[in-house]
Every structure is written in C-alpha cells, then in structure tokens.
Amino acid sequence: MSKGLLAVAMSGGVDSSVVAGMMRREGREVVGLTMQLWNQRRLPEIQTDKATGRCCSLDDVYDARQVAQHIGIPYYVVNFEERFEEQVVKPFVDEYLAGRTPIPCTLCNNFIKFDQFLEMAEGVGAEQIATGHYARITRDEHTGRWQMRRSVDSSKDQTYFLFGLQQEQLARTLFPLGGLTKPVVRQLARDLGLPVAEKGDSQEICFVPNGDYAQFIDAYFRERGIPTAEVRGEIVNREGKVLGEHTGVHHFTVGQRKGLGIAAREPLYVIGTEPMTQRVMVGGNGDLLRASLAAHDVNWISISPITAPIRAQVKIRNKHAAAQATLSPGSDPSHVHVRFDEPQRAVTPGQGAVFYNGDLVLGGGWIEN
C-alpha cells in the first residue's frame, strides 16, 4: 500500500470519524476534508428545529473539526455547493418531475465523492482517499481488476449506492469499515476517545429535512418562482378512468399506497406515473408485479461487460432482498436486460438495479421507464 498522504472525507458522523482515527492510528499521514454540499439556510420554510443528522449543518462541521483536532490531523472544509446543486439536486428534482424516483446518494457518489472530491484530494497532494462507506474493495489477482464486495455487516451494506464506481476510482479509494460491523465501529470510536462516539446515525437524504422530498421539491420550485399549480394532474386506473386529482407527479412513487385520497374497495397503489400528461396510474397489488426490467448506463465493477446471459442476484432498491435473475446483454454493453425468476413488486424507474454474485458486486445500472 502506498504510504503517501491520505484524504479522509469527514462528515462529522461516527463512521467517517472512525476512519480518520483508524488511519491515523495505523500511522498514515491523514488530512481530513469536509464537503460543504448544501446551504442549510436555503428553503427556510421547510426547515425544522432538528438540524442534526443532515449534511453540512454547522453542528456536523463542528463535530468533524473536533474529531480532527482530537486525532491531530490537518482539517479543512471545502465548498462543493455549486457542483452538488448541478450534479445532484437538480437531477434529483428533474427525475421526480419526469415521473421517476431518483437516488441522489448514487449521483453524489458518482459525481461528488468519487469525482470532485478525489480530484480535490489529488490537488492537495493526497493520492488516496478513504470514506466511511460500508463496502469492501478487493483485487482480482488474475485479471488485475478492482472488485467490490458487500460489507460484512449486511444491515449497513452500502454497495447499492456505489454501483457507479469506475476502476480508476476504486484503485485510489479505501473503505476501512467494510470488514467491520457497526457495533465494532462504535466501540472503536469509544476506544479512540472520539467526541462523536455516541452520536446517532443519519438516515435521510441529507439535503431534505424529515425525508419529505415532495415538500422539498415544492420549496425548490418556489425558490425559483415556478408555481406548483402547473404540475397538477389526474389520478387514473388501468382503464384510464379518472379517480381523482393530485398536486404533482413528484408526490408519487411506484408502490406508494398513502396519500392518494381515493376511497376504494381494494387497496390502491401507484403503479406508474406519466409525466407527459401529468397522470398518475393506480391499481391493485397484483398490478405492481414485474418479471423483468431494462437497465441503462450500466457500469461493470467486478467483472468485465457480459457478452452472454449470466445468473445473478439483483437488488432494485436499497432495502430490497436481492432476487435471483438472469442478466442478458442489451444492444450495447451499457444496456442489460434483467429477467427475474419470480416477479418482483414495485420495479421503480429511476432507481438502481444492482447485480450481485453472493458478496461480489458485479455492477449495476438505472431502471428504465
């Protein structure tokens, strides 16, 4: 392993703090960097009193700085707000408006953490970066290919959000927590005497207070002076019969049951949205099942692009238990057809389809409409 300067992405949370502490204890020369991604003073109407657990709050920066001081490393806050808005927030909003359900964390990994951050780290003299992600990076000794494996702590595994990582990014990245469980990480935080050892985990999309993304999108529109009245539309069943009205397709995601405001004998679920007509389609539970999906912009991590069908397990959202499927190459290596052995509920356009073989992350792509 190269022993040059290592840049640790520090959020002020337990995980990345432990990474910095571990690397320092191992004798690495470490610089701590916190990415300022989003100005939490924006969109004041949706702010809550609870500012913790969200990225870039002053409390988190304070905590990260305390940790850096405690372990004795240089520390800086770097301003990535413009890039984050361009590459993560705007696409997030646009995807919802296009009737899809995006994953901002994957965009952030692809375009911020493992792109601009990696570049900034190199700029300040760090050849490698380390983050607090729960995933493992290994190397195939025969092919020289960098591979990604699930975290040993399956409840914390974050490989679903990392399917976009390229070989040259993996080559310069360390995930020191991938072989540890969360309780062990917390114990390490205590052993290292870190001031954040007992801090709670963050759960939500970092820039969206309370996880209410529809409210966020409404506020984001208002900030730009776009009236939300323009995005109203109809709720229809499979036969096209109008059952009700809604205040924007961004309030709905495939599989959603709450918030439809329609009385029906059978439980109704969102089975799709049609942004062109602003229509939301609803149906019964059975209408949510899909036997196959098409994935685009597929990135292959642990294996080279497939040229013939292979067997794999496929995850279609973070909390999904990977389902057995057959992957077939599409018209080009960036397209893959996935046929599940058993139909899967709520295959949602805009989410990722991530391919596994046991622990190994083969690759992944975005679910098409």
Binding site: C56, V61, N79, E122, G123, V124, G125
Partner: protein, 380 residues
C-alpha cells in the same frame, strides 16, 4: 515543519514589544479604570496613555478616540451611531462585511457605489450618488483583499461640502500607510488592534470632536458615554504600544514590505504562466492578489497550508468553506476567476528567504493542480 505566515490582512501576530508591555499590565494592573481608588487610577492612567499613543498614530486628539472591541464594532458604532430614520447612506461594493452587513440591517436606503477594475472608487461617482437625504458616506481607506487605497481625502471634501458625515474603515490602513484623520477630513474612522500586531479584541473609533453619536451599547458611562462596558485596559495598552512602534517604524517597514511584495509578485509572474494581478494602483505595500487561471484557489490554499504556507482565497463562510470574494466580483472578475484567486499579505515576520520558498511552493502547486485541471489544459 516550518510555518510561514502570509496572511497579515487577516490578522497579525502580537509583536515582541507589544507583548513586553502587555504581560506586566495583565499581571499588575487589575483595577477598573472607572474606580476612584489608586488601583483604578493606575488603570485609568495606562488607558489614557494608550489613547494618546493611538491618537499620535492617527493624527487626532486622544479625546477623539473611543476604545471598542475591534474593527467590526467600530464600524457598527460609526454607522448605527450616525444614521437616523429616513436618511440615505452611500457606501461602496468593495467594503468589508462589517460595513456591508450593517448597511443591509439598517432599513434605510443605501447606494452601493461601484468601482472599476482597478478597485479604486471614483469620487465623482460618490458625488453623483448624493441625495438631499444623504446622511453618511462610508468608504474604506484600504481594501483588505486587493490592498487598493481609496481617495478618502477627496471624498471627505465632497462630503463636507454637502454637509454629509464621512466614515472610513481604516482597519487595513492604520500603520501601513501614513494616516492623519484630521488632514483626511473624516468624521469617523475605524481601526483594529489585531491588524497592527496587538491582540484580538481591541479596536478604536475616531469620532471628530463635537460630533454627536448614538451609542450602540447601553450601560455605564464609559468612554465619554459612547461605549458602555468596563474598559479593556490590557487591550488598549497593547494597541497603544503597537501604535507607537508603527508611528516610528511603519514607514520603513512599508518600504521593506513593498520590496518583498514585488519580489513575490514578480517571482510568481515569471515562474507561473497565466497569472494576473487583481486590482490596480495605488495600493499598500504588503498585499498582492493574484488570479491563477485554471486553479481552484481553495485547493491551492490547502496545498500551500500542507506545505507550511498560510495564504488566503475568498472569504470563509460560517462552516469555514471558501466562497468567492465579493470584492473580486465587484471589480469585474467572473466567478471562476474570483475562485482562482489567491491573496498574499505580508508583514513583519516575513523575510526574503520565506518569499523565495513561497514562490517555489506556489509554482510547484500550480503545476500540479493544472495537470489535474481539464479546463486549463483545454484553454492552453
């Protein structure tokens, strides 16, 4: 690792001669300067000596100085103290936040006069902005980011003719260029201790004799009822000592710094391609602000810091991240060019050897950062 400090416009280290008078005051002068007993009188005596020393540096009577907590308070007191309801204020787009953010809070009409690419305000633009209701003009003497010197005497003359009060934020000027507030003709003038080798937490506001000023703080009758709160005697004494040193040595030090600054600027311009100087003349001797095309100033500041050099880029937001300088954008730089700019500000601790080491470090970091910058590669 040796650390070389090139950020004297942000703050200066406390000098040896200041420390030598400050420590005994902290140890021995414990009285409250407002008390009637001997202990209080000793404190009062030290406070008033210090006031005379600062007055000598600024060319005013001691009585015309109010000690405050620093430059920000001096600016707040000057502006809040001078304006009234329904009046109009003129300032410039390149002021320090201690003036700009006060103006934003006033709830009165404010004209922000623009400056050209040279970073020097045109007095005629100030004259044209005057309205019948204009009550105060506030223009900084020296800009903190590009070091340009503003024509305060001319502007003060315009103000006087129009019967308008004139304030100048002189935080970056005092001790760096000759300042005589009486000759300048200003009514109010702010200075700060920690920009002149005294500690943080002390500053002063010059208030022309006879000028009525509303207080910012209410409490005891300190500082001729202009600034309530027990006097910071150690801070004032330190500032007095710093002022005395500068009154005697400021001019020769400025000449020395001009030589170092030119050596630094020339060295970087010769060694690093596509670098330009932000702002024009006249400017103070210790400041240079350079735009290095295709380089993130933020990365450069960190890279230089890790090599032991303290420099700055833009202004720090509340988290400590860097935002592009409003001053550079006000003098016409694009956002990208403002983000690619670095400020080097020199002071008493700097030597030729340090400057040469800094030139080497800037050249090495610039080469490395540009290798990583696709925009720059495409540009050349």
């Amino acid at each position: 690792m040796n650390r070389f400090y090139f950020d004297h416009n942000a703050s200066t280290p406390v000098s040896q001669e200041v420390l030598e008078v400050l420590v005994p005051v902290l140890l021995e002068v414990h009285g409250n300067a407002s008390s009637i007993h001997q202990d209080g009188q000793i404190a009062r005596h030290r406070l008033e000596s210090a006031r005379r020393q600062v007055g000598d540096l600024l060319g005013c009577q001691a009585k015309e100085l109010v000690f405050v907590s620093g430059g920000t308070e001096a600016d707040n007191l000057a502006i809040f103290g001078a304006i009234g309801d329904g009046c109009h204020l003129i300032t410039t787009a390149i002021e320090h936040p201690a003036v700009l953010n006060v103006c934003a809070q006033l709830g009165i009409e404010v004209t922000y006069v623009r400056v050209g690419s040279g970073g020097v305000v045109d007095p005629d633009d100030i004259r044209r902005a005057i309205r019948p209701t204009t009550r105060l003009i506030s223009v900084m003497h020296v800009n903190n980011e590009i070091g340009t010197i503003q024509p305060i005497a001319e502007i003060a003359k315009i103000a006087k003719e129009a019967g308008i009060l004139m304030h100048s934020d002189g935080v970056q000027a005092a001790g760096r260029i000759p300042v005589n507030v009486t000759a300048l003709g200003v009514d109010l003038y702010s200075v700060s201790g920690h920009k002149m080798y005294a500690p943080k937490g002390v500053g002063a506001l010059y208030v022309r004799k006879g000028l009525k000023l509303n207080p910012l703080l209410y409490g005891g009758r300190h500082e001729q009822q202009r600034r309530a709160g027990t006097e910071n005697v150690p801070g004032a004494v330190a500032m007095g000592a710093a002022a005395s040193w500068l009154a005697e040595h400021g001019e020769s030090e400025a000449i020395r710094l001009a030589g170092l600054r030119d050596r630094l600027e020339q060295g970087i311009l010769e060694r690093v391609p596509s670098v330009s100087v932000n702002g024009g003349a006249p400017r103070i001797s210790g400041t240079t602000n350079l735009c290095c095309e295709g380089i993130e100033g933020e990365s450069m500041v960190i890279a230089l810091d890790l090599r032991g050099f303290a420099v700055s880029s833009g202004s720090a937001c509340s988290s400590g991240a860097v935002e592009p300088s409003h001053v550079l954008m006000a003098i016409g730089l694009t956002r990208d060019r403002a983000k690619s700019s670095l400020r080097f500000s020199l002071g008493r601790t700097n030597t030729e050897e340090q400057v040469d080491a800094l030139i080497d470090a800037v050249a090495a970091s610039a080469t490395h950062l540009r290798k990583l910058s696709p925009e720059y590669v495409a540009h050349v």
